[in-house]
């Protein structure tokens, strides 16, 4: 009899709480019927019970038949895009961390090489796990709560006119371009987050790195970090849209331009902050003997021009990208 309890438990523990009691009652009455059928009024032997339970089959399979909801994390309809996104994210994270770590090794050579190599792989593996976990969590949540409501409609209402047009050759956006963009954004997020002191002028003496003069004020950069991350996330969003839409059209052109303008506003806020630049930059550079003394203009003026020019350069780049995107969008929307 104990075997029956164990069998019933093995089935019901895999079922939702509210169905358990009912199914347990029914299952027991079924097993009783089967015993009756087999043994009549004689008390059943263990052997009989064993045969009956074997006939009922694997408890996890039986439970699966009772449960009619999806017992998977990410369904077959979503699986392809899941793997696709997962690959991109894993590549971006691994590449970003690897580059960051390698630069760090050269800048700040570790005392123990073996330990550094260990840390290198540990960082990549833990980063990859993080990426894996987040992508999986997001997909699982959308599978459970959103997906069927949204695409269930789409799937049922599908008609031939929904078939996408085959894009012209130049209209297509290569996934690799967008992926490279995403990878670099992730790389920059990692660098700004963990090793912003690496962004600067590298001073070499006789082929050996002696110091780095940071371009940004480390303290101020920390305060602005959320804004910086938002700017790069906007860029990732832009590349994701390109990946999903896959070809130039008006929607994508306008969306790209809109994202660029928001990024530009954030960049202006960021780089016009008087404290973002390393205020000691010129002094630090002057203190090094490697600066050529026969420069026509003073470093002060040069630095001033660079910082002012920087924001202009970013503005120019973003506006150009917006205009080009909109032109491409219009071009391919008109037949």
């Amino acid at each position: 009899m104990e075997m029956i309890d164990r069998y019933v438990y093995a089935v019901t523990k895999r079922l939702p709480q509210k169905q358990r009691e009912d199914i347990e009652k029914e299952l027991r009455s079924l097993i009783d019927d089967m015993i009756m059928e087999r043994c009549g009024i004689n008390p059943p032997r263990d052997k009989d019970i064993e045969i009956i339970l074997t006939e009922l089959g694997n408890p996890s399979k039986l439970a699966a038949k009772y449960r009619d909801d999806n017992n998977y994390l990410i369904g077959p309809e979503h699986f392809d895009s899941y793997i696709f996104i997962l690959r991109i994210v894993m590549a971006a994270v691994a590449f970003g961390i690897a580059v960051g770590k390698i630069v760090e090794f050269f800048v700040d050579p570790p005392a123990l090489v073996i330990q550094a190599i260990g840390e290198f792989f540990a960082a990549i593996i833990s980063g990859a796990f993080q990426g894996f976990a987040w992508v999986t969590i997001i997909f699982a949540l959308s599978e459970r709560y959103a997906y069927h409501k949204i695409s269930g409609l789409n799937l049922n209402k599908w008609s031939v006119s929904d078939l996408p047009e085959i894009p012209q050759k130049e209209q297509r956006i290569k996934p690799s371009e967008a992926i490279v963009g995403i990878v670099f954004s992730v790389l920059f997020i990692i660098i700004f987050n963990f090793s912003s002191q690496l962004i600067g002028v590298y001073n070499f003496v006789g082929g050996k790195l002696v110091s780095i003069t940071p371009i940004f004020s480390e303290q101020d950069l920390k305060n602005f970090l959320p804004l910086i991350i938002v700017i790069f996330c906007l860029s990732i969003l832009k590349e994701c849209l390109k990946l999903i839409i896959g070809k130039w059209n008006l929607t994508l052109g306008i969306a790209t331009a809109a994202i660029n303008i928001i990024s530009l506003i954030f960049c202006i806020v960021l780089f016009t902050s008087p404290t973002i630049w390393n205020s000691n930059f010129v002094n630090e550079l002057n203190a090094l003997t490697i600066v050529p003394q026969d420069l026509d203009i003073s470093l002060d003026v040069l630095w001033q021009n660079v910082t002012n020019g920087f924001i202009l350069l970013i503005a120019f780049g973003l506006i150009l990208d917006s205009v080009v995107s909109i032109i491409k969008g219009i071009k391919y929307s008109i037949k």
Binding site: I23, K25, E26, L27, S29, L30, D32, D33, M34, E37, E55, L56, G57, K61, L62, K65, Y66, D68
Partner: protein, 110 residues
């Protein structure tokens, strides 16, 4: 190449699967509990796995085709299933479909 008997028995299983619900509904004009249903079907040459039948009964009940109630029989409580009004309508329509299908199939294969 798979054994021909194996192929046939696999295909027969698939064919039978489609007829399962109709076989079950046909016997539920009068209330039956799960195991008596298995036996009734078996008497008529329809093999059904109990592990398939019980979840199927619950699903049909959830869809409103069957109704059920716990009743005491032979001193033991059992859950009796029977066709609901919707179920009766569904069953008669399914029978029509079945006859049509049989006729078409006979035309095809004879």
């Amino acid at each position: 190449m798979a054994d021909i008997n194996e192929l046939v028995s696999g295909l027969v299983l698939e064919l039978r699967r489609g007829t399962l619900i109709l076989s079950v509904l046909s016997q539920l004009g009068t209330p039956q509990y799960g195991y008596s249903l298995v036996q009734k079907l078996e008497e008529n040459g329809i093999q059904i796995d109990v592990g398939t039948l019980y979840p199927l009964l619950r699903r049909l009940e959830k869809q409103g085709i069957l109704e059920s109630s716990w009743e005491l029989a032979d001193t033991r409580p059992r859950r009796y299933y029977f066709l609901s009004n919707t179920g009766k309508e569904v069953y008669s329509r399914m029978c029509d479909e079945w006859h049509k299908m049989v006729a078409s199939m006979n035309n095809l294969i004879d």
